[in-house]
C-alpha cells in the first residue's frame, strides 16, 4: 500500500560514492526488480530504502511523506535477506512472532495470524523447529513468513534465491510471483544479479551499473529496446552478440535467437563452426568469424550442422541494434 519516490538519492561510504543521484518512482503494488552486476549498487539501494543505511543526500518519500529519517518500522517495511537472517536460537514460531509483539495485536490474534501465515507457506508443521533443522528452501519460506506476518506496505527482497539450488530456485520464483498476486496492494522491491529472475518476476526492471540507473522499463522493453550496450548485453540469455564493424567505430548487436544459419557465401557474415551445444529443445552454435570474433547462434533442434563447417550468418534485419564506440545506441 505504498508509493515510493526516490529523488536524487546519493550514498557515500567515506569518500567513495556508491550511488549517484538516482531518481525513481515506484507505483503502489508494483513489483520492481533492481538488477545489475555485483558492485552496481543495487543492494545498497535496497538498504537505503529499508533504512539500514543512511541516505547521504536526496529525498526518499513513501506515500508522499519524506522518509529519510524514519525507522524501518515507521516505513512499514519487511525484508527477506539473502542469508535469511533467521534468529538461530529461536524456533520458527518465535522467529515469526519476535517482531510482532510490538504491533497492536493481542496474543491470540497474533497467534492465529502466525498460524495462518505458516499454513499458507506450508511451514505449519515446522513451527517448533530451529532454523538449523530446516532445509534451505524451508528456511527461505520461514524468512518470507516472518516478513509477511508483519503485513508490510513495502516488501523488500535481497537476492533471496541465490542460496538455493537450481530446481528449488525455479519453484521459489514461482511462489514469489504467486505471493505478489495474493498481496496486490503491497509494493515489492527485489534485488538480484540474475536477469532471468528479473525478467520473470518484474513489472518493471531497473538496470543498475556503477551506482547509476542505466534503464528502467518492462522486461520486454529492455529486451527489445535497450538504451545501450550494457543493458543489451545484461538482459537476455545467452547474451547478445556484439560484432565490430569494419570501420571499427560502430558495433552491431544481435541476439543469438535472431540469427539464421545459412549456406556459406550467403548472409551478412561467414565463419567456421567452432563448437556445438545441443540442449534438446535448442542448439547453440558457436561460429568463429575471420576477425576472430565469436558469434553465438541459437537454432532449433531440426537444423544439422557439423563442427568445422563453414557457414553463413543471416541476422533478422529489424532485430539489429547499432551501438557507437561508447556503447550508446545510434
Amino acid at each position: 500500500m505504498a508509493e515510493l519516490q526516490l529523488e536524487n538519492i546519493s550514498k557515500n561510504f567515506g569518500s567513495i560514492k556508491v550511488i549517484h543521484d538516482v531518481s525513481l518512482a515506484v507505483q503502489q503494488g508494483e513489483f520492481v526488480v533492481f538488477v545489475g552486476p555485483s558492485g552496481s549498487g543495487k543492494s545498497t539501494m535496497l538498504r537505503l530504502i529499508a533504512g539500514l543505511e543512511d541516505i547521504s543526500s536526496g529525498t526518499l518519500k513513501i506515500d508522499g511523506q519524506v522518509a529519510n529519517d524514519l525507522t524501518p518500522v515507521q516505513r512499514g517495511i519487511a525484508m527477506v535477506f539473502q542469508s535469511y537472517a533467521l534468529y538461530p536460537h529461536m524456533n520458527v514460531y518465535d522467529n515469526m512472532a519476535f517482531g510482532l509483539r510490538r504491533h497492536n495485536m493481542s496474543k491470540t490474534e497474533a497467534d492465529a495470524h502466525i498460524r495462518d501465515t505458516a499454513r499458507s507457506l506450508d511451514i505449519e508443521q515446522y513451527l517448533d523447529r530451529l532454523p538449523r533443522q530446516l532445509s534451505g528452501g524451508q528456511r527461505q519460506r520461514v524468512a518470507i513468513g516472518r516478513a509477511i506476518v508483519r503485513q508490510p506496505k513495502l516488501f523488500l527482497f535481497d537476492e533471496p534465491l541465490s542460496n538455493l539450488d537450481a530446481a528449488l530456485r525455479v519453484n521459489t520464483r514461482l511462489e514469489i510471483a504467486k505471493l505478489h498476486e495474493r498481496m496486490p496492494d503491497t509494493t515489492m522491491i527485489y534485488v538480484t544479479h540474475d536477469q532471468i529472475e528479473a525478467m520473470t518476476l518484474a513489472d518493471r526492471i531497473v538496470v543498475m551499473n556503477h551506482g547509476n540507473i542505466e534503464q528502467v522499463g518492462t522486461p520486454m522493453e529492455l529486451y527489445h529496446n535497450p538504451v545501450n550496450q550494457f543493458v543489451a548485453e545484461f538482459i537476455g540469455s545467452p547474451k547478445m552478440n556484439i560484432i565490430q564493424d569494419e570501420n571499427a567505430v560502430e558495433k552491431t548487436g544481435i541476439r543469438p535467437e535472431h540469427i539464421e544459419l545459412v549456406a556459406d557465401g550467403q548472409g551478412q557474415w561467414r565463419g567456421k563452426v567452432e563448437a556445438i551445444e545441443e540442449l534438446g529443445a535448442e542448439t547453440l552454435v558457436f561460429v568463429r568469424l575471420p576477425t576472430e570474433e565469436l558469434v553465438l547462434v541459437r537454432v532449433g533442434d531440426d537444423q544439422s550442422v557439423t563442427r568445422n563447417d563453414m557457414v553463413g550468418l543471416a541476422p533478422i534485419e529489424d532485430k539489429i541494434l547499432r551501438f557507437n564506440r561508447d556503447g550508446g545506441r545510434c
Partner: protein
C-alpha cells in the same frame, strides 16, 4: 605421544600421590617410608582413653584454604565475566581507533603476574601507596588502610588485582563469541523494530552463551589454581591462603614434603571434581538449547 604424556604428566602426578602416603621430607626423598593415610587422617591415642584426630582432613588451615580458593574463584570469575562482557560489547562496536583500544585493553593481562602483583602492592602500600592517598584526599577514608595485611581487606585487595588483571582475557574470549554472531541478524532485528536492549537479552546473549560458558570454565579452572598473585601480594595470610599456597608452604617452606604432597593430591581431586561438575552443567545447558 602416550609415552611423552606419561613422562611429563603421569609420572610427576603419581609420584606426588605416592609421596602423600609417605613420611618424605626435602632432605630424604630417596629413602621414604610408606605410612598409609597418616597424612590425611590419623587417630592418635593418648593412652589414657582419650585421643585426637590429626591430618589434612581435620586441618582447619587447610579447609580455610579450600574455602578461600572457592570464594576467590567464584567472586573473581563472576566479576570478570560481568566486566568482560561489557568491555567485549564496547570493543565489538564500531568506533575510530578500535584496533588500538583492543590491543591496549590486553595490557593488564600481558604483564607478568608477579610484576603486576608487586606494582599493586606498592599502590596499596599502607604508608606510601597511591590508593590510600587518593581515598584520603577524596575523604572516603579517614586513616590509611593496610590493604594487603589487614584481615578485613586482604581478600578484597587480591580480588581487585585479579579482576583488574583478568577481565581483558575474559573480554577477549567473549569478543570472539560476539564476532560469531552474524551481522544480518541485527539488521533483521532492526527491520523487526526490536528495541536494542531486548535484542541484547533475547538475541545476542543466547547466541554467545556457549562462548561465555567456555570462558567461565577456563577462568574458573585457572582461578582455582591461583598462586603467584596471592603469594606475592599477601604472603602467609590466613585470609587469602589458597590451596596452591598451602601446598607450596608445606612442600618447601615448612619441610613437610609428605603433607604438602597430600595437599597437592587433594587439590588435584577437588579441581578435577569441580571441572567435571561444571562440564556436566554446561552440557545439560547446551543440551537444553539444542
Amino acid at each position: 605421544m602416550l609415552l611423552v604424556l606419561a613422562a611429563v604428566a603421569a609420572y610427576p602426578l603419581f609420584r606426588t600421590f605416592y609421596f602423600g602416603f609417605t613420611d618424605a621430607s626435602l632432605d630424604m626423598l630417596d629413602s621414604v617410608n610408606w605410612v598409609g593415610f597418616r597424612n590425611y587422617l590419623e587417630w592418635v591415642d593418648y593412652g589414657d582413653g582419650e585421643g585426637e584426630f590429626f591430618g589434612l582432613l581435620v586441618d582447619e588451615v587447610w579447609w580455610q584454604s579450600v574455602w578461600n580458593t572457592l570464594y576467590f574463584s567464584f567472586v573473581s570469575v563472576s566479576f570478570e565475566t560481568f566486566f568482560g562482557l561489557i568491555v567485549a560489547l564496547v570493543l565489538n562496536a564500531n568506533f575510530a581507533g578500535r584496533g588500538i583500544v583492543r590491543a591496549a585493553v590486553l595490557i593488564p593481562w600481558a604483564i607478568p603476574t608477579t610484576v603486576s602483583a608487586k606494582m599493586w602492592a606498592w599502590m596499596m602500600h599502607d604508608q606510601f601507596g597511591i590508593l590510600n592517598d587518593l581515598l584520603m584526599k577524596l575523604h572516603v577514608i579517614s586513616e590509611p588502610i593496610a590493604w594487603t595485611a589487614s584481615s578485613d581487606t586482604a581478600m578484597l585487595a587480591v580480588l581487585m588485582v585479579d579482576i583488574w588483571k583478568t577481565t581483558p582475557f575474559m573480554a577477549l574470549l567473549i569478543l570472539a563469541g560476539l564476532q560469531m554472531v552474524p551481522r544480518d541478524i541485527y539488521e533483521a532485528a532492526k527491520i523487526d523494530g526490536v528495541h536494542p536492549v531486548k535484542v541484547f537479552f533475547k538475541v545476542t546473549l543466547p547466541i554467545i552463551r556457549p562462548a561465555i560458558v567456555v570462558a567461565i570454565i577456563f577462568r574458573a579452572l585457572d582461578a582455582m589454581r591461583v598462586f603467584d598473585l596471592i603469594y606475592v601480594l599477601t604472603p602467609a595470610n590466613d585470609d587469602t591462603r589458597t590451596m596452591s599456597v598451602f601446598a607450596r608452604e608445606y612442600l618447601f617452606d615448612f619441610d613437610k614434603f609428605a603433607y604438602g604432597s597430600a595437599a597437592s593430591t587433594l587439590l588435584f581431586l577437588i579441581i578435577g571434581g569441580v571441572t567435571i561438575t561444571i562440564f556436566a552443567m554446561g552440557k545439560t545447558n547446551v543440551g537444553r538449547e539444542n
